[in-house]
Symmetry: C3
Subunit: 269 residues, 3 copies
């Protein structure tokens, strides 16, 4: 696949420290024409599931051939392998700790390469910052058109990650909150297609903690200011929101408390 | 007007979520050579006045022909129209909710277009993320040189916004705090030219809450460390600051409490 | 030296306000082809030592000829001079308040220029925002290849900054915390080479507050989850960390409390 020349960066490094800038310096030293786009550097530290869902919801809006570097890497320096992946439309570079599993799982025939060809790394390689020493330089070489298949052997057993699955118990579809966004919207693992298949033409009743919401609305302004609603968000996931407010505040929850919380959709005739 | 190829982005999306990156992906998919500059993604949620004053204070420093996308949009999916505006020197793209009123009001003959030509949008259009589905792709097409006049009908009644006006009551000029910056400086709606016209050659006495400050200083170091002062900030607006400290902390105010607070300038002989 | 065309920005402006974007607008108005990379805009306000250590740890990863603008400037508008510096491999632009002293001190023959040639500035020059009016336009002109030696007279007495020095007292090497990163890692002024010269082949015992750590580990996973360890971080500085946790939280310290705190390394046979 031809590269778009765009490299996206997703990390849990935050923006206060110079770590992200150091990665950009390494990339631009190898390919001065690379176009670098920050996806997020505020993934909660070590939150593999959050990073995996963010990158999955984001990449389809980028040109084919875009190179996505994801560094959420609690096991840096340990046994986990550094990998480069080529799917039908995109490249991914990062640790083989399961972050890329949702992408590998859905692709027809992804190439997953164990990066072990040291000429594409900085030297020496530190034990604590593979984003700088391995992933940034490899991304820069891929953006120059170098084939990942020459960067190491193929991996047959890439790291996996258990994404929370939907459960149907009688008349109830059970999901959970996977992310809370900046507006306090509670984003679930329930897609519009799951809802439609489950509900057929009944109206849902949606419960989370002590709150019960009737029906799924189209837009925030379908309810009065300050009132909660359920709607399909921009990634077609079911979300709980509050018009001109924050659903997590409404429920008295921090983001950390909300993630993993159960949500139940009941059929209602 | 010829475009500069630069697209600025101002939103209330925050930096933790991938929403801004998604907009950049959409733009680069249409125009891989667009140069994207972030103005701020930390506009307080839904704060139209804040967004309007930020963009007004920023754009004059960009090359003519720059395209400014502003997405602070509490009514997304509702009745408000999506617009593109061409003023004497710049383009603006976003919701017609009054954010652009201070810019429209000051321009000689702005073209304000109701964006309704779907070939310049993503498809389908979501109810909740017009930044991605309408404003980003339109900005990308404008950066390719496409005339906004072909993107929909002209609007004669653009959305307005009431900017707080100065009032003169006898010997007192009354203004208010419109923004608090990262240093805790309190930025007012009183411009240097308003002050000079009001004061003529008298010395002012400036009051906010229980604090009274004599005179306007030139620089922070005109007062001892930790002391409050009034000065004209970098946009020539009157500001209350504390040398090597924070005026909002000094007054025991959060940013939210300070915005809208009255400030009185008295003549003092 | 030939410029790389890359301009890095390091400030204490934060990301909420439009100040950084204004600087980028000024740069792109002068050189539309400049490539701008943010290092950090979250230097603690006025923290010269923090800014100096961040820029020193970052620049070596950028291409030679990169232009580094650093604006941490509590004395803006006062007596301190604006400067441009050319070292063996890089350019630096900012206030002459000591931020650049660690870089000047280590270079063989740096050119330090007092910027006083107004044709490279915006006009008029404000008293409060030299980042916009002086440093951004000068950086843009340098990125176009203009020699800093034509921008003002040479300075023989650049501003200095006292970096905390290591002290050896008998069998103990004393250093201090100079920065706390986003993960809560405590970064010290003790380099790996200092440690190796001091320890020779003995094993260290490292103390900070009530915590004592035996030996320096290689990677986070050398200790159980939640346990503290000492290791050499990505800049080869001795760091105190907690596996999958935060060392500053572990010690019950805010970043502000931790910076300046003493750390003692004892030889242990």
């Amino acid at each position: 696949m031809k590269t778009s020349g765009i490299i996206t960066l997703t990390t849990d490094f935050g923006l206060r420290d110079p770590y992200v800038a150091v990665m950009k310096g390494v990339i631009l030293s190898i390919n001065p024409d690379a176009k670098i786009v920050d996806v997020s550097h505020q993934v909660p530290p070590g939150a593999l599931l959050h990073a995996a869902s963010v990158i999955k919801d984001t990449i389809t809006y980028f040109p084919h051939g875009t190179i996505n570097v994801v560094v959420v890497d609690p096991g840096v320096g340990g046994q986990r392998r550094p990998v480069a992946i080529e799917t039908e439309h995109y490249f991914f570079i990062g640790p083989d700790n399961g972050i890329f599993w949702p992408i590998i799982e859905e692709d027809n025939s992804p190439a997953v390469i164990h990066l072990d060809e040291k000429k594409y790394f900085l030297s020496p390689i530190s034990d604590t910052f593979h984003g700088r020493d391995i992933f940034a330089p490899v991304a820069a070489y891929v953006s120059l058109g170098i084939d990942i298949r020459g960067m190491g052997p193929v991996i047959r057993d890439p790291g996996t990650l258990s994404f929370p699955r939907l459960k149907i118990r009688g008349n109830v579809l059970c999901g959970e909150i996977i992310r809370v966004d900046n507006f306090g919207n509670l984003i679930t693992n329930i897609h519009r297609t799951d809802m439609e298949a489950f509900l057929q033409s009944t109206t849902p009743s949606i419960s989370i903690e002590e709150l019960t919401i009737k029906d799924v609305k189209h837009i925030y302004t379908d309810v009065p200011k300050g009132e909660p609603l359920a709607l399909y968000g921009s990634s077609n996931r079911l979300e709980i929101a509050v018009r001109e407010g924050s659903a997590s505040d409404y429920l008295g929850l921090t983001a950390g408390e909300a993630v993993g919380m159960k949500i139940a959709v009941s059929k209602h005739n």
